[in-house]
Point group: C2
Chain length 257, copies 2
Amino acid sequence: MTPYEFRQTVRRGEFSGNTAGICEGYIQANLAIMPLKYANDFQKFCDANPKPCPVLAVSEPGSPALPTLGKDIDVRTDVPGFFIYRDGRFVGEERSLAHLWQNDFVVFAIGCSYSFEYILLRAGLPIRHLELGCGVPAYDTNFPNVPAGLFGGNLVVSMRPFKAADAIRAIEITSRHPNVHGSPVHFGDPAEIGIKDLNKADYSDRSEVRAGEFPVFWACGITPQVAIISARLPLGIGHAPGHMLVTDIPLSTIVSE
Amino acid sequence: MTPYEFRQTVRRGEFSGNTAGICEGYIQANLAIMPLKYANDFQKFCDANPKPCPVLAVSEPGSPALPTLGKDIDVRTDVPGFFIYRDGRFVGEERSLAHLWQNDFVVFAIGCSYSFEYILLRAGLPIRHLELGCGVPAYDTNFPNVPAGLFGGNLVVSMRPFKAADAIRAIEITSRHPNVHGSPVHFGDPAEIGIKDLNKADYSDRSEVRAGEFPVFWACGITPQVAIISARLPLGIGHAPGHMLVTDIPLSTIVSE
């Protein structure tokens, strides 16, 4: 199935699941959607925090299209799930934005770690949560984002465990891909970045770090949603975790090896 | 002083010390010198072990010149110290090769970590052994080199301690410089690569890893001398540790940032 065909399937309401493994070889994107009056500050926030928020594309105000990312994209219907935030609080999940759409909405598409996981797998590196068949464990940290306007909050990180030699390779590889979160922000002692218990992820699933492995932490695409919460926007929207926009852009355009 | 002027100083016998910090901003090189009949296998050994043995230049048989690395280089006299090996044993140090030179000698110039230390310092990363004013600690490992002909032995590594975030940055940076040993081969538990006691370096000086730091291990330019020993050549020569060939090649030609 092509990314276009997949998005049409979502648009028809025939798919509402996790997009992990969907249309392998194409870039997937996190989303952040908000009224135009906040968009300029949010762009500044992303520019100031490029590791968690690498911007891939921004829509015209009021437009649900992202023409540089794919044919006939309508983010209102082509993404399998959304998280809705009002006044800084999560108020529910939606499968479509048709009824919530505002003519002043701006859509930010942000790089997603599914892309670099594909690159790591191609390099022969094991990805624990994929082996376990669960989502990547993600954690709030005590590391403050660089604020911009109303947007702030702390960095959220995702964690993948590796032995030292594999961690070195993973750092090498991801450092070449700043559009999908780039190199890690930390490895080793979780307490150093304010994570109390590695076994209790703040977002998503179980974690498992085995003897001889280091937990390696990358900036996570949940961070922009934390920023939306911290800004207490009257209405802000993100993709539901794991429910990404699948773009027409081949990963080969960003994979240099 | 230009590298040419420095080499002339060495040639006149006026300098026989460590070349750390000499002619900053220019590539320095490790040396391996041996009879032509072994040179082909040694080249294969270097090709098979690019991290410890990144070849920068090879001389014509019998020639002590390396024209691609600098003006009027005569390695016999322009390098401040040599280690001499006979039949697989270290037999002494020399300040000149004038009396030992053979018309069948081939000179290999090999990338040196002094270059990447300069790059790391420029990036604002602290280098412990430079702060302490001593040589980099280096260790024999249990990690076998890929053998070629008579040449084999185990990898030698150098160690620099870093906090996690700095280690990530050091890995990112050195991975872009394969000509000067590239990315590390290991970090964390020394026992995993056969190092029993981090405080007892097999080569050079003291080591000091502080709380919250990881020892990070890079392939080391001592490895080719271990390979010469392992091959039991009737006569093989290396630079004395820390006593490098200073070339005319600016580091800016390999530093991308």
